[in-house]
């Protein structure tokens, strides 16, 4: 069933060969072909803009009030590209290799190599759009380091790289709106895929302001709807981020791949109480300069600055001397959890570790003093100069931290703890980004393809824009070339009517429950089950129990949820109920997938499978495959395996020591 359609030939020639031989659609025919793009983050906005430029008739949808607000906007640290501007040994192969290794050998070689190949074009394209990347005094682009690499290949715009890249893509999109090539539907949410003769031919969307259902035809449908991290309730995702579009696609026949591969980011602001609605990330770029530590003594209640140097345990530097504080995210997160579980955690909850900038402040201060040719500068002054440098590099992040916690991170080390941040799993796609439903594509975080079991920092922005700017414009044409004789289907077609009725019935059913418990309370309970049993550490027993609990929660939800208001009006509680209903079903599949994968790899850590020193223990003989789940019936999936073949990289025990 699964044919990844990977082109033959040597790895480094596959994409060039593909582009040289894929079918093309001539400009006159492009005007007759309609494409639906759902989601306007980096993947969706870049795809909609690029396809509009090519001449396709594009309809783009987002649930926010403007495409510029998609959650890509919140990405902080940067975007990787194999430019080797720093002359430090980077290359397309290195970026490819680091990404495959970082993903713990669970990603597809051909896709990742293509990603590395187009990475440089992304930077060029963004610069041409006027994205104000950080620059050096000579006027050239600046780079910094991110986890899991030993080169400086991350391009950035202070701590707002995602914002600047998204605004670039948004502006390109709005330009196509102005030119009439793209029609934009804001405050619209996709609630069903419409299939005709087995192909995706449109969507049912709900106008969130009027509450009405709409039918939209497309020769192809692109889902660029992001990840499903909000299944955990608490995550760094935006409140509205959801799995609904992807889940509807899944129930229409698109297999869902590796749903248990979720990323827990090591440096987030810790939870402060039951009221918490979301978690805030502190960029990985902070690990360039911040040092992570806990007290050497268990249950140490002294404040950080009273703990002398020799009584601090810089555990990442101790355990992983080669990469130190810049180990990949999965490794850093597990190490923090291990310290806290053993009683070394800090803060009132004891579920936190320190991220300390004191050394960096002194180091930068001395450099500044050196620049002025001064010696014997008093420490106070060095610290003050150092703080200025740190402020320039990370000021906005430090401000965010202070607003949330009320503590000044220039004086006290930050308290941080891992939190759900990204999902590597997603809709299964082939080399062309097409799902198992013909005509239905998935781009960006919504697909599973490039990050294996763990994503490296600054690679999500790269993948979103690679898919939208440089992959889909080629691969979509390859199949739309066969559609030039297919006329647009009238939305009065019975398939549209049936799909709309199904959505209407579902909404009616939700509204008629009139139970006692709020949507939010169900979401919180779901999140707790998944976090406790399918979070940073998983066991067979825990997962089996979680499946039973989620199934029971689903029953309770469908018999006791309370949704105020009515259908044909703006009703945010109804929007949320639609999303939570799908998260519950997805939560079950995540546990099923985690239970099936009897190994540990990347972010998937099964306690039964670990090395004597607590590292993830892969089982390549039995699990070197993509687990793609086909929906059969309620609580019932069948597993399709796509074997992962490594022609170039030799999988080994991942080591950052």
């Amino acid at each position: 069933m699964l044919d990844a359609k990977i082109p033959s030939g040597p790895l480094e020639n596959k994409w060039t060969e593909y582009k040289g031989h894929c079918k093309l659609v001539n400009p006159a025919n492009k005007r007759k072909l309609e494409v639906i793009v759902v989601g306007t983050g980096l993947a969706g906005a870049s795809a909609a803009a690029s396809l509009g430029e090519l001449g396709y008739k594009v309809k783009a949808f987002c649930f926010q009030d403007s495409p510029r607000r998609a959650h890509s906007i919140a990405a902080q640290g940067g975007i990787n590209a194999a430019k080797n501007y720093q002359n430090d040994g980077d290359s397309v192969f290195r970026l490819f290799y680091d990404t495959i290794k970082g993903g713990d050998y669970r990603a597809r070689e051909a896709n990742v190599h293509r990603l590395a190949e187009v990475s440089g074009n992304i930077i060029d394209q963004c610069v041409a759009q006027g994205v104000p990347f950080a620059r050096e005094y000579g006027g050239l682009l600046s780079n910094r380091s991110f986890g899991g690499t030993q080169v400086q290949r991350t391009f950035y715009a202070a701590g707002q790289t995602g914002q600047q890249l998204l605004i670039g893509a948004y502006q390109a999109l709005e330009r196509q709106v102005a030119l009439g090539n793209v029609t934009m539907y804001t405050r619209h949410e996709m609630l069903e895929v419409v299939k005709i003769d087995g192909k995706a031919r449109g969507i049912i969307a709900r106008d969130l302001v009027k509450g009405t259902l709409e039918r939209h035809f497309g020769h192809a449908v692109l889902l660029c709807t992001g990840g499903y991290g909000n299944v955990f309730y608490l995550s760094t995702n935006a409140m509205g981020s959801n799995v609904t579009a992807a889940w509807k696609a899944h129930k229409q026949g698109a297999t869902f791949a590796n749903p248990c591969f979720t990323q827990i980011h090591p440096t987030c602001i810790p939870v402060s109480g039951d009221h918490q609605s979301k978690l805030t990330l502190m960029s990985e770029s902070l690990r360039n300069d911040g040092r992570i530590w806990v007290p050497k003594k268990q249950n140490d209640t002294r404040v950080a600055i009273d703990i002398p140097e020799e009584e601090r345990d810089y555990y990442l530097e101790r355990r992983y001397p080669a990469f130190g504080n810049l180990v990949p995210r999965d490794v850093a997160s597990r190490a923090a959890k291990e310290r806290c579980d053993d009683g070394y955690g800090v803060g009132t909850s004891k579920q936190a570790v320190y991220l300390d900038f004191a050394d960096a402040i002194v180091r930068y201060g001395k450099i500044e003093a050196g620049k002025e040719g001064r010696s014997n500068v008093p420490m106070d002054e060095i610290i003050s100069m150092g703080k200025q440098v740190v402020k320039e590099k990370y000021g906005n992040l430090f401000d965010m931290y202070e607003k949330i916690t009320g503590e000044n991170p220039y004086e006290l080390p930050m308290r941080i703890y891992p939190a759900v941040h990204y999902t590597m799993g997603g809709l299964w796609v082939d080399y062309e980004l097409q799902t198992t439903v013909p005509g239905l594509y998935a781009l960006g975080e919504a697909n599973f393809s490039d990050h294996g079991a763990n994503r490296l920092g600054a690679s999500a922005l790269m993948q979103g824009l690679a898919d939208g700017y440089f992959v889909i414009p080629y691969t979509l044409g390859n199949s739309l070339a066969d559609e030039i004789y297919s006329k647009a289907v009238e939305t009065s077609h019975p398939a549209f009517e049936a799909a709309e009725n199904e959505v209407a019935d579902r909404i009616n059913k939700l509204m008629s429950i009139k139970g006692k418990q709020t949507v939010e309370s169900f979401h919180k309970r779901l999140g707790k089950i998944i976090w406790d049993k399918c979070g940073m550490a998983r066991t067979k027993e825990g997962l089996e129990q979680a499946i039973r609990e989620v199934q029971a929660l689903k029953k309770e939800f469908w018999s006791d949820v309370r949704i105020p208001g009515s259908i044909n009006e703006m009703n945010p509680e109804l929007d949320k109920a639609n999303r939570v209903a799908d998260f519950i079903e997805l939560g079950e599949l995540m546990c099923v997938d985690a239970l099936n994968r009897n190994e540990s790899c990347g972010g998937h850590f099964r306690e039964e499978y670990q090395t004597p020193d607590g590292e993830a223990l892969r089982d390549d003989a039995n699990f070197m495959y993509v687990a793609a789940w086909e929906y059969k019936a309620e609580h019932e999936w069948s597993l399709h395996k796509e074997p992962l073949v490594y022609d170039v990289v030799k999988p080994s025990q991942r080591s950052y020591k």
Partner: protein, 254 residues
Amino acid sequence: MEHNNLNLTVKVWRQKNSQAKGQFESYPVKNISTEMSFLEMIDVLNEELIVEGKEPIAFDHDCREGICGQCSMYINGKPHGPWQANTTCQLHMRAFNDGDTVVVEPWRAAAFPVIKDLMVDRSAFDRIVQAGGYVSVNTGNAVDGNSLPINKDKADASFAAAMCIGCGACVAACKNSSAMLFLSAKVSHLALLPQGEPERHSRVLNMVAQMDKEGFGACTNTGACEATCPKEISISNIARLNQEYLVASLVADK
């Protein structure tokens, strides 16, 4: 961090839809931890309203970390509330005292009609961008990113303008409901970079024309926009906009 609990009265603008007439309603909220964010306090209130069988308060919000620009509450007479350089979602309850009455309204501007309760329609901003807030470069046309060195100070100034999150607080704060700070940030972002040069004149003329068409008011230099901007976009951008507009008007063909 030390924290304590507050009891407050929240006086909120309720409006069923764009046609309906709105009014203030007051709600007591109890045991609000000072560690909560302002929106989490609204979440708590909404949960109580739902359980009581009432309609929760509709409001725009998404990222809850101060960058998406979706949250838009006018709190105690100030867009985004009492803190400087802050969005509503970043405001925390330690900004308030036990017993306070907190007044919450939507953005008020003719160009931002109310959709429901605290939600407004800001699509006018998208249409202003459509009028020219971009560089016309198709995907695939770009040359190497380092082939065009850009003076660091200019690049930094461009970035400082590009940080605008499009929330509309500048319009809400202005007695004329002017969108000049928003527009000037976009014009400055692109005018300061060589990439923006070819369309420099047409961009500013078209964007200003669209702004006027949307019904935003004129700028009378009160500076309320700068004082309230969560991203501290400088009012000097408005000076640059005026200069760009003047030059463009003098040299433009049309």
